[in-house]
Symmetry: C2
DNA sequence: TATTTTATGCTCCAATCGAGCATATCTGAG
DNA sequence: CTCAGATATGCTCGATTGGAGCATAAAATA
């Protein structure tokens, strides 16, 4: 096989069109920033590690731990991340994965603006909050502090029907000039799909889409801060979660979405658990991440059936009832199955509207 | 809720530990390079657009289209990508998504090396090769040109049992000093999981893992080029696919893996199809990407049942048999279901070894 | 016209998974 | 001490999904 196909190509590439990789270094005065969304579950509450930005002492905002990447010091991005996270917070990261690279921050800046351009590479780290005896800086804050609309543990959060839905519909109803051409979906459809309006199903993984829609509509504080025109068209806005520095809320939203997605097909929950745990504790942790309540018996069946855990032989008493068997993660699954995860199916329309 | 939890934290963060985001720009003399893996399917062959590197005229190697990101010129990474891809190849990209940011290239460099550091952000673009009337530069080359072990269309590729398996086992058998501690899995287990040795199932999404394992073992040309010690321990190596410039083969591997994964849960196949197509053509395209042959009747049932397509009313004759109905992509499906894709299940152990 | 090739509809069956019933075993109130 | 309440855990039933194959339709081609 190995055919070479080309649409009326010129066999010899044109010099003027080519850029050597070395050129990139010279042409782009760009700094690389690393951002870490460090996630844990504490008392059945999903949390992330936040630090206080000192950019403006008066109105300090929350921020994710972040630092520059210095290629002379660290050979890999992840290595650099681990080093300064340890430096800055005292934490030794365990599991970490790259999320996304954001570069379109500062979109409010006018052309010609000389402020430094920073590309930020977001990372997700999962850790066990209780095991972090070295934490010297930062606070664990609930996810839902920043994204109250994501908190479905007590059913559909009120903020959606009360504050979000009417404003998004108003925003969608506004005459859209050019942007409708750029966006593949109409505003109203995006709002419906993102927030499960009009009976549409709620997709707990669309965390970033929801945040970005609120940003575009000018509802979150960051939109006003960035000078988005859509933000100027509102008055008397209620609070749509706690804002964060620059684009950190986008990064954390990406982290939450990724965590929710990944927990279903890779055994990453165990990064959040102590060595020994009961199946109910495991379930509570999964529910903290995913939201909806799972069927207890089926959860047990699935987790045990998948060979994800093995009993330690011990039991945990004082659970309020019959003692629960203790389990540990069976690391060998990684050698057996290609993609084991905590499979959970969507609960039957917990969507309040329909 | 919104509790703030902290392990013996200091409420006031230490100044010395903090880095303002602006610092990043000053401290990191790093260039940003954008790399595009532009994928299409031509005559049931999955292809990517390759250009010729001119780094060394004598031994020119294949490269992905790439260019620098200039934040003064483009507000977004994707915008910059589209601009120079058009400039360089004449293509107007349709679907594009960010893949991964690679920064640990040049790991062969000694500390203190002054060569420019480039962080490359890989993008995946899906396009329809036939629709590209403007292609001015570059050639479409088969995926399997670069990764022959990924070509399972005629069953398990011979190169695995003949060239890869024995060498990886030899490599795994070598005394491992420190690296075993770093790697969570032993070499032998990684080889088994990646390449489906000893009866383990083949996971067509692990394209990057396989390439990186071959790199680590010193089998692919890039390892020798980078001066990896593992590459020096082989003699009379056969060819393990065609090498590419710097880390472009890693990026393309990431692109292939992502394409294979995404086609299953998002309707991205249609980016590769003309406006009208028969279901068999659609199936052939999916099979070009995923490899194994699908059950025809079930494929039809799934695709139609999911509402992914609608008949145009026309038929296509000269198919060699009964005329096939023509279909088009039902874009409305994006407004109905949260995550439609071409769901295909793993074929029953097409793994030659077991 | 017969053969070949592709298209397409339908059925059967196994595996998966949501849901609920039943039972075991502890804690704590009275 | 006993019973109520709470949690743990095993098991069954039924709906849905998806893999596999049979059968038929309708064209191209020899």
């Amino acid at each position: 096989m190995n055919m070479e196909l080309s649409g009326r190509r010129k066999p010899t590439p044109e010099k003027s069109h080519r850029a050597s990789e070395a050129d990139a270094a010279e042409q782009s005065p760009v700094g690389i920033g690393l951002n870490a969304a460090i996630v844990a579950v504490v008392d059945d509450e999903p949390v992330a590690l936040a630090v206080r930005s000192e950019a403006d002492a008066a109105s300090a905002t929350d921020a994710l731990p972040f630092g520059p990447f210095n290629p002379r010091e660290h050979r890999t991005l992840e290595g650099g991340l681990r080093a300064w996270v340890r430096d800055q917070t005292g934490l030794d990261l365990g599991y970490a994965e790259q999320l996304y690279t954001f570069a379109d921050r500062g979109r409010h800046l006018e052309p010609g603006d000389q402020s430094p351009h920073v590309v930020s590479i977001g990372y997700l780290a999962l850790t066990q909050a209780g095991a972090q005896h070295g934490l010297t800086n930062g606070v664990w804050r609930s996810w839902y502090h920043y994204y109250p609309w994501e908190d479905w543990r007590k059913g559909r959060p009120e903020i959606i029907a009360r504050d979000i839905e009417p404003r998004l519909k108003a925003w969608a109803a506004r005459t859209v000039t050019v942007s409708a051409v750029q966006n593949p979906l109409a505003r109203a459809d995006r709002a419906r799909m993102c927030f499960g309006l009009d009976g549409t199903a709620w997709d707990e993984e669309k965390v970033l889409d929801r945040y970005e829609l609120l940003y575009e509509a000018g509802l979150v504080d960051e939109a006003k801060r960035d000078g988005r025109v859509s933000a100027r068209e509102w008055s008397d806005l209620p609070k749509f979660g706690v804002p964060m520095q620059t684009d950190h809320r986008r990064i954390l939203a990406t982290a939450i979405g990724r965590t929710r997605a990944k927990i279903k097909y890779r055994p990453v929950v165990f990064e959040l658990m102590p060595d020994e745990f009961t199946l109910y504790e495991l379930q509570k942790t999964v529910e903290a991440i995913l939201g909806p309540h799972l069927h207890k018996q089926n959860f047990r069946r699935l987790v045990e059936g998948a060979g994800l855990v093995e009993p330690t032989g011990d039991v945990k008493t004082r659970t309020g009832g019959r003692p629960a068997k203790l389990f540990r993660f069976r690391r060998e699954v990684l050698l057996e199955r290609p993609a084991p995860g905590v499979r959970v199916s969507a609960p039957p329309s917990r969507n309040g509207t329909n």
